[in-house]
């Protein structure tokens, strides 16, 4: 268990800069989610912490110790890969014991630690099986077990749930978080799924094109996005963006408004046409299109009447919920 510090970490491949300087101080035991679309550099950042990619500039510290020049094995980290990266020719037991055997831990100690991890992860009946004889969720647990038994200072997760089906993903997300809380190991978790970021993170780093657009607690980020990208990426359905001119304001700004903050009413100031309604049971998503062909989504309670598709309606919202962005996508103070 340790703190983790990234200090203006940069990465370039040749002349191409892929990470433009990311800094964060991670507290001991904190669960940090790095979230962003594919190609934003989130996996590269994680692999730099792991020691699988060199660090072009800046510094990575684990437990206050600079690790830039250290091999992965010397950094006291464990990593869970997207495709699990289990050793296909070894049993579940041997997969988990591999790192300990190399570290020359005593046999009885290895057996104890693997047994403990297996119990924690409900893998006890499968210890003698090969990875190919396990389901996706079980393989995921073995990968977790391999990380746990080594008792590392930091856990690194590289999109560990993206190969699982939706239902299992929800279940494993809870399990991973519960496990991490129980073990109290500092964790860095990479995902492209903003729901995972919202539900799992103590704090999250929202990455966009190699830049950390925003670092903060999930609800803070949601309520107060720093950029247009963050407002659009975090939250589902995403924030609506309406050009300032449409609302009779400056043409230099865009107004962002969350779908749940918009209400449909006869006397609404912005007129739009209903294109489609998605009734999800507890709530309904109403998709509309405005006169300038901006798409707008409204999220409303299912008890409210469904608007007629094709009808022209008015939209309303409280000015306090508006977020103003400049043309470069930066948030403007109101």
């Amino acid at each position: 268990m340790a703190t983790l510090t990234l200090n203006n970490v940069k990465k370039s491949f040749g002349k191409t800069d892929v990470i433009h300087g990311v800094s964060i101080d991670v507290d001991d035991g904190e669960f940090i989610v790095i979230v962003g679309p594919s190609g934003c550099g989130k996996s590269t950042l994680l692999r730099m912490v792991a020691g699988l990619e060199t660090i072009t500039d800046g510094e990575v510290q684990i437990g206050g110790r600079r690790v830039n020049e250290e091999e992965p094995m010397a950094r006291d980290i464990a990593m869970v890969f997207q495709n699990y990266a289990l050793y296909p020719h070894m049993s579940v037991f041997d997969n988990m014991a591999y790192g300990l055997k190399i570290a020359k831990v005593e046999k009885s100690e290895i057996a104890d630690r693997v047994a403990q991890a297996a119990k924690l992860l409900q893998l006890e009946p499968y210890l003698q099986r090969k990875p190919r004889e396990l389901s996706g969720g079980q393989r995921q647990r073995v990968a977790m077990g391999r990380a746990i038994v080594r008792k590392p200072a930091v856990f690194l997760f590289d999109e560990p749930l993206s190969n699982l089906d939706a239902k299992l993903r929800v279940q494993m997300r809870l399990e991973i978080r519960a496990l991490q809380r129980e073990l109290g190991v500092t964790s860095l978790y990479v995902t492209h799924d903003q729901v995972e970021a919202m539900t799992m993170a103590d704090r999250m780093i929202v990455m966009n094109g190699g830049v950390a657009d925003q670092i903060g607690k999930p609800l803070e980020v949601y309520a107060n996005p720093a950029t247009e990208f963050v407002a659009g990426f975090i939250g589902s359905p995403p924030t609506n963006f309406i050009p300032g001119t449409l609302l009779g304001r400056s043409s230099d700004i865009k107004i962002g408004i969350r779908p749940e903050h918009v209400t449909i009413s006869e006397n609404g100031s912005l007129k739009a046409r209903v294109t489609y309604c998605e009734a999800l049971g507890a709530e309904t998503l109403v998709h509309l299109i405005s006169a300038d062909r901006s798409k707008i989504t409204v999220r409303q309670d299912a008890v409210l009447p469904l608007p007629v598709e094709g009808a022209e309606v008015g939209l309303n919202w409280a000015q306090a919920n508006e977020m103003n962005f400049d043309q470069a996508g930066n948030r403007l103070a109101v």
Partner: protein
């Protein structure tokens, strides 16, 4: 996957028969007919002019198995095959590991390594013979400068060494391709996971890479042994002709020299039959193991 397979069904018997006919003809003419001839001839001793044959039953086999030179040829073949296989596979694996780590220029490297495979064994033999020729060979000359007197015409060990190197050389390309494909089929993340688990290069190779390569290795092992048994004829014929004093006379070369040089067609045929049995055994072993797929 089995039941998902799409099968083409024919109504009559004639069209499918016509379609497989070329393959059947080739197999019949070039395998079953000569093999049958060999088995038949192995039961006779023909006279030197080929005018008559005398039935001897298993006499040829009896004679062969009690023949000192024939038994020595077994040992020679075993030594030769093991050396060719170990050298060609060892070097190929080493080169494949290097190529696997390459990022730039791996295409060129691969192409250059594949070239020797295009050289026919007999041509390769002549090539090596020129380099090691006892009078004009360039390698012999440099060895002479170093004070070593190379003479594979007289020295049995040197003769064996030369035919092994010449045979293995052309084979390295083939093995390299398979090893490289095998290495590249191992997911990068598995290697990375092992690195994070604390395994250094050699440990990773021993505990992860080599076991995952085992299907490739086993396949190559069998294919290379069969190659060393048969296809090295050209190399041996051009370089040593089996000498000196039969030191490089492997079984397949003895079939030729006893039959066509010694004119003992009965014995030669019997030797072919024995070889046939050995290869069948090797193939059976191969299929048994490949079906089981050493790992996975």
């Amino acid at each position: 996957m089995g039941h998902m397979e799409k099968r083409v069904t024919f109504k009559g018997i004639w069209l499918p028969l016509l379609l497989v006919l070329p393959q059947i003809l080739i197999t019949a003419i070039f395998f079953f007919y000569p093999a049958g001839q060999a088995i038949w001839q192995s039961l006779f001793i023909p006279d030197p002019f080929g005018l008559s044959m005398q039935w001897v039953g298993l006499g040829n086999f009896e004679y062969l198995l009690s023949d000192r030179y024939y038994r020595a040829s077994f040992v020679t073949t075993a030594v030769f095959s093991i050396l060719v296989t170990v050298v060609s596979m060892g070097v190929a694996l080493y080169l494949a590991i290097l190529a696997d780590r390459l990022i730039k220029g791996s295409g060129t490297y691969r192409t250059l390594l594949i070239w020797p495979y295009a050289v026919a064994p007999a041509v390769a033999g002549v090539l090596w013979l020129f380099m090691f020729n006892t009078r004009v060979g360039v390698v012999t000359w440099y060895l002479g400068l170093l004070g070593y007197d190379w003479n594979h015409v007289l020295n049995e060990g040197e003769a064996m060494g030369l035919v092994v190197v010449a045979s293995a050389w052309g084979r390295i390309s083939y093995n390299f391709l398979f090893f490289l494909a095998g290495l590249q089929a191992i997911p990068r993340s598995v290697i990375e996971a092992a690195a994070i688990d604390g395994a250094h290069f050699w440990t990773r190779f021993r505990t992860i890479v080599f076991p995952l390569l085992s299907p490739t290795t086993f396949f190559l092992l069998v294919v290379n042994i069969i190659y060393a048994f048969f296809e090295t004829f050209g190399v041996i014929h051009t370089i040593t002709s089996g000498g000196p004093q039969q030191a490089t006379t492997i079984l397949v070369y003895k079939v030729y020299s006893d039959g066509f040089v010694g004119q003992d067609l009965g014995s030669s045929a019997a030797q072919s039959v024995i070889l046939l049995v050995i290869v069948s055994l090797l193939t059976v072993i191969q299929f048994k193991y490949i079906e089981r797929r050493v790992h996975y």
